[in-house]
């Protein structure tokens, strides 16, 4: 046989510990996993005979990782329909660079996220909540409508430790929370020293684009902004080519990029 070392493509069995249903379309699957994982990294959920799909880590525990996903494709649909807590599945990963949480300690930080993009930053926020810097974290979390709000328990916890703005794009009459796009609240964030302030912006491409306009208006340096990107992927390990943009591979060089670098990448 071959002496090629580990076959990274081999799916690794993992027990599904729990399923947390946020909305009808968005569930968190808690998979058994032991090993180093960073927020912003991703796993390939691997279902034999069905396929694989890359999902960012939304939570990290001592013996598990949380993967939060929307049912929008063949693999995710299958996952929603066919599995329950206690079942065994397969994973590959973690892959990608992830966020370096220490980068954001001890300074002011703005986090702008939309929808399921809470996943990659959830670990960052959780880490910072346990540090002295929590009070200088300003987070704007946007969802399409009140029914789409995810991680409600987390948001409630975080609201006590960080400066959290929760907003929805639109809401039925009588809704008491904030309404409006995330960009609407960027000008109001209280920042002491914008030159040293950092930011994490994760969400759909248009959200990132318009949030950046607002952040730059406030004087934030593009070098101090991190985003997390996503692309079609097959291998997750820099071989299949699908996620390449210019000379970068989202699966190994990303998915977390400095904005100043990412804006030079053109699909």
């Amino acid at each position: 046989m071959c002496n090629c070392g580990k076959n990274e493509y081999t799916p690794v069995p993992s027990k599904l510990q729990d399923i947390i249903k946020h909305t009808a379309q968005e569930w968190t699957f808690r998979f058994t996993h032991v090993g180093d994982v960073k927020p912003g990294q991703f796993f390939q959920i691997s279902i034999p005979k069905v396929g694989e799909c890359p999902i960012s880590v939304s939570g990290i525990g001592p013996d598990y990782v949380d993967l939060t996903l929307r049912a929008v494709g063949k693999v995710t649909d299958y996952l929603f329909e066919n599995f329950k807590a206690g079942d065994s599945l397969f994973l590959r990963g973690p892959y990608g660079n992830g966020f370096d949480v220490h980068e954001y300690e001890g300074g002011e930080l703005i986090i702008v996220v939309g929808g399921t993009a809470v996943s990659p930053v959830r670990g960052v926020v959780q880490y910072l909540c346990e540090t002295e810097s929590a009070k200088d974290v300003h987070m704007i979390a946007g969802f399409k409508d009140p029914g789409e709000i995810m991680f409600k328990a987390d948001l409630k916890d975080w609201a006590e430790k960080i400066d959290l703005t929760l907003t929805v794009d639109g809401a039925p009459e009588g809704y008491e929370g904030k309404v409006g796009l995330v960009t609407k609240y960027i000008p109001d964030i209280p920042i002491r020293d914008i030159s040293k302030c950092k930011a994490i912006v994760v969400g759909p491409p248009p959200m990132i684009k318009f949030s950046m306009i607002e952040l730059v208006k406030r004087g934030l340096s593009e070098d101090n902004v991190w985003i997390s990107d996503s692309r079609r992927m097959s291998c997750g390990i820099g071989k299949c080519g699908h996620c390449r943009i210019n000379d970068k591979y989202v699966c190994i060089d990303g998915p977390v990029f400095k904005f100043s670098e990412h804006k030079t990448l053109i699909d």
Partner: protein, 339 residues
């Protein structure tokens, strides 16, 4: 050390080599071309040198031995995941200088990009030796000289068939006995290389970012039919897509395989939820061309394209990749000089 053989003598060399190796070479497949009574040259196993097509460049490259068009990775039964078997017998691949240069690019992608190597590639790669087919003439549409791939000394042995005689330069000690025993005359043999290709190309050193959205690519939106032939014949294209299937109605048994993918063909950038990153063929052309002569170099220090010219020859719409490189270069000059 070199040898000169008659054809029958060289076939004895092959016979001995076949004891340990399979010989993979370009073969003329009669009638298997696109159109009625047209042929195609693609790789297959041979036993006699006459069965190899050594004059004309193959339409499809050697790469099918290392990255099969369709390759099973795993078999799935109800409770088991099993790595697919493969034919572990060593292989000697007959290929031209440009293609030997292409191997370096494949190695780079599969074993030199990111922390993980490609297990399936490595297990095939480890059993392959490369033999050089000398080039008596420049191939149609080739620009290997300007890409620096027209010469190589990285081969186990070389083959030049001239006037019915087979000239071999043998470098690999493991194979030496097979060559020595076949009755050929010892001689100093130098494989033939071309020093003038069909086309000249000039590559830009830097490509300013504004050229990514330049109107020069619009032409290809109109002309290209996104069939992906340029990718499938390219000796340096490595992209693949993993697909899972189940065989039976009850869905219990199946496999995971990977198939060659093309950045020109629909679906390459589609993500779940409907987003498509590059919709127009012009954008896809730009993505491909810049990878071959710019982006890959930015990452690894040398260009990906080896200038074999296959993509030009195969294009059903007569789009010339070489010409596109030159157009790009001219456009870069225009843009940078006007700054």
């Amino acid at each position: 050390m070199g040898f000169v053989y008659k054809t029958e003598e060289f076939n004895k060399v092959l016979e001995v080599l076949e004891g340990n190796y399979r010989i993979f070479a370009p073969v003329l497949k009669v009638g298997e071309g696109r159109f009625r009574d047209t042929d195609v040259i693609r790789y297959d196993y041979i036993s006699r040198i006459e069965d190899a097509e050594l004059e004309e460049r193959s339409d499809f490259s050697f790469k099918e031995i290392l990255i099969p068009l369709s390759e099973t990775m795993f078999y799935f039964t109800e409770n088991e995941i099993k790595e697919a078997d493969y034919d572990a017998r060593p292989v000697i691949v007959l290929m031209r200088s440009c293609d030997i240069h292409a191997v370096k690019r494949l190695d780079q992608m599969y074993t030199g990009n990111g922390p993980n190597n490609d297990w399936f590639y490595e297990r095939l790669r480890n059993r392959v030796k490369f033999a050089l087919i000398g080039c008596g003439k420049a191939c149609p549409n080739s620009f290997c000289v300007d890409m620096g791939s027209n010469k190589t000394d990285e081969y186990a042995f070389s083959i030049d068939v001239v006037d019915g005689k087979v000239y071999c330069d043998v470098k690999d000690d493991e194979l030496f006995a097979a060559f020595e025993g076949a009755g050929g005359a010892k001689d100093n043999v130098e494989p033939r290389f071309v020093t003038e290709a069909e086309f000249r190309v000039e590559r830009p050193e830097e490509v300013p970012i504004e050229l990514f959205k330049d109107p020069m690519w619009d032409e290809y939106t109109k002309r290209c039919v996104n069939c992906g032939r340029c990718n499938f014949v390219c000796p340096t294209c490595t992209c693949f897509t993993i697909q899972d299937v189940f065989y039976t109605d009850n869905g219990r048994v199946g496999e995971r395989r990977r198939v060659n993918a093309s950045c020109m063909v629909d679906g390459y950038t589609d993500v779940a939820g409907g987003l498509v990153m590059r919709k127009t063929n012009g954008e896809r052309m730009r993505f491909k061309v810049l990878h071959k002569v710019y982006d890959f170099r930015k990452r690894f220090g040398y260009d990906m394209c080896v200038g074999c010219g296959r993509c030009d020859t195969v294009c059903p719409e007569y789009i010339s990749f070489a010409n596109c490189i030159n157009k790009l270069n001219a456009r870069v000059k225009e843009v940078t000089e006007n700054v």
